[in-house]
Subunit: 245 residues, 2 copies
Amino acid sequence: MTRVAKHLIADAKAEKNNRNVCLTCDIREMAVCSALRPEELLRLNKIATARVLEPEETVFYEGDEADTLYNVTTGCVRMTKMLADGRRQVTGFLYPGDFLGLAFYDKYAYSAEAVGIARLCRFSHDKFQALLRDCPELEHRVLGQVSNELAAAQDQILLLGRKSAREKLASFLIHLSERAELRGNDSCMLDLPMQRRDIADYIGVSVETVSRLFTSFKNDGVIGVPDAKHVVLLQTNVLEDLAGL
Amino acid sequence: MTRVAKHLIADAKAEKNNRNVCLTCDIREMAVCSALRPEELLRLNKIATARVLEPEETVFYEGDEADTLYNVTTGCVRMTKMLADGRRQVTGFLYPGDFLGLAFYDKYAYSAEAVGIARLCRFSHDKFQALLRDCPELEHRVLGQVSNELAAAQDQILLLGRKSAREKLASFLIHLSERAELRGNDSCMLDLPMQRRDIADYIGVSVETVSRLFTSFKNDGVIGVPDAKHVVLLQTNVLEDLAGL
DNA sequence: CGGCCTGTTGATCTGTTTCAATTTGGGTGG
DNA sequence: CCACCCAAATTGAAACAGATCAACAGGCCG
């Protein structure tokens, strides 16, 4: 069976279960949904539909009318911004539980694409706003999450503005390690669902530099690279020193 | 009379008027306070005190316990983050109406210092949180402002990660021009309250590069620089092209 | 008037990019 | 199931943007 066919089946299943996506949702605990009481969860359930994304599939484009809001349920989604001449900046990677499209304007401020296969939970912006109005606790959670994102963005600003390429990549790996730990995964055996270009565009260097630095870290015995999609942290403390803070 | 003495007097006046700082506040229209009904404004008034800052005076340090929240009323405040070896990144400049210290953690994620003389409105974090709980509309406004800040941070991430030094400075000037226009000021005659080092640390280049670029723009006839604290935009459209998007 | 801090300009140096050539590896079709 | 094919990743050499080092000018304050 081809991979595409598998996804079509998964998609069909998701549609079938649409009636109770929220109630059976794997990430109900970690998402903002956990703020909701049963009756509100039912209401959220009514306005939620599932969406399955192929690798590299676009969720929405920067500048599109922001009429839909998403919650990542599985996989990894990247946010990107482009300059007129094609230079690209990845502004962040989103994992299960993260909100997507929370622009409080009429247009999305960035594009969003699935890194690998990803599943999203989809809400109409208007209906979600209405739910927010009726459920201040939910809005409070959303505020908390946006605040988190802002703090992360400021860390990234420090990284991009003042760190060397070596410090940038070390910081990136430490950051992934911390996120893995938060999700209850091994903090030393890292999954890198994104490709080198994504990493490069995230930390503001060229792909070649990313590649050279991986090799350099490997030669220094700081990391192991079993394959392009996995990194083993061998000396986390050394990597933390390299990260510059 | 020395400048310091003048400020002491201003400070004393602020203290005297403390009873109705909010009701007489110049920026009541533009701040989140505009979401409040009269009785809530009175309540906000009770928990607000004024604070006057000397140039370069620190409001709080990164890592301090975040027990206080501020609103800028006059002047300009910069947010900074530092690396262990002293490299500095300015993460943003705040103007009247902007919130300061809105970290929803126990520690501030950045330091804040007055650029010139500045006035702030000060709230206890706990009491403000309590007010938020009772006034969802206020929380909604706060969410809107944090969302704005997040969008601005993502723009800055694009700038830092992918723009050339020339594009960075051009973007910075355009950004200042837009903010000036929003505040109802002349969008061509720009105030630069901050010094060259602040600009350099904001756009992630060296002071020397900032200086050279000002000279270059001046020689190209794109801007005029009557003195170090003022810039005149002579060819805004050319500057916009230089900004890269 | 003198000292100091900020800003500017010049000369050199270096980290990172760019250009170019391989190598690797996963997916597809025969 | 294997071999091919193309995209992704790596490695090397050359070029360059911007940093660093250093000297100097200007303005403000004591």
